[in-house]
Subunit: 157 residues, 2 copies
DNA sequence: GTGTGAGTTGAAGTGGACTTCAACTCAAGG
DNA sequence: CCTTGAGTTGAAGTCCACTTCAACTCACAC
């Protein structure tokens, strides 16, 4: 029943470097038992946690937020498929939003490429509601501060 | 004809912090003339460069690559609309790729949410061709090393 | 028992994109 | 002239997600 994984095995199976796994553990995202000789041994359930972490990062969620999400899993029992489904679903709207913003950028770019006007300044950048900022930094799309002053908008010339 | 902008004005119009503008200048992304008193004065054309920089960042391009792209602009004359169109168009396939990958992740997530299997491990993560890695670090979607060992794939249980 | 590859730690380093700071100087209105 | 807000510099700091390092210790096949 135990059938525990070493850090090397978990690394190979998850595609995550051992150093990253130790880092995740320090942040409280995963946990490991220890052998008498102080080596980590991972339950197979940890594999699923690591998978969730990597998926979440692709969605653009920071490790900090991933930790919060993982903290919402039941401690008493091994998380059920439904537990994982709930967590995964909770990222869905973020993913949608990211896709929506990138698609909008693409369309704007298409619209502007003909004229080379870069009026994206007007269409996209001066659209503070609409930026990717504040996405959680893991994959945050840069734009750290569209602290725009709307009174100055729209004049590129 | 000159009609130059101070750093504060360029910052307000572009929504980019003065410190970031100085940083861009150090990296050679923009340039400024100087007054007798050593203050920066920007030509209006720099506004377009800054717009291009921010757009490129949203696409997920690093400042380093943006610099390279900007270096390909003609030095002799003020870049024409066509020049800008060419540069913008050059990001198009990256943008498409990002959107494609995120859409795939969304679909996989949808497919897996029903069962909670997180078999994304199988569908998505174990698909080294298909990761967002190596996108240029500005907005790189994390995944720094899907150095997967394919022999170990697909076993979450 | 011994060699070897895998694992341990805390501290420090990396990279990208900036921001902050201290200590000044400039520009412009009154 | 004086004040005040805006601008200048280089150096250092920040944040995130890790990686690297040195100096050991473990686990296991032979």
């Amino acid at each position: 029943m135990p059938d525990l994984l070493t850090i090397g095995e978990l690394s190979a199976r998850s595609g995550v470097a051992p150093s990253a796994l130790r880092y995740y553990e320090r942040l409280g995202l995963i946990r490991a038992d220890r052998t008498g000789g102080n080596q980590r041994r991972y339950a197979r359930a940890e594999l699923r946690r690591v998978a969730f972490i990597r998926i979440s990062q692709q969605v653009g969620v920071s490790l900090d937020e991933i930790r919060e999400a993982l903290d919402s899993l039941p401690e008493a029992r091994t998380p059920s498929p439904q537990d994982w489904a709930r967590l995964s679903a909770s990222w869905r709207s973020r993913l949608d939003e990211r896709i929506r913003l990138l698609s909008k950028l693409r369309d704007d770019l298409d619209g502007c490429i003909g004229c080379g006007c870069l009026s994206l300044q007007r269409c996209t950048l001066n659209n503070p509601e609409d930026t990717l900022a504040g996405e959680g930094p893991g994959a945050r799309l840069v734009l750290p501060r569209p602290t725009d002053d709307p009174t100055l908008a729209g004049s590129l010339n």
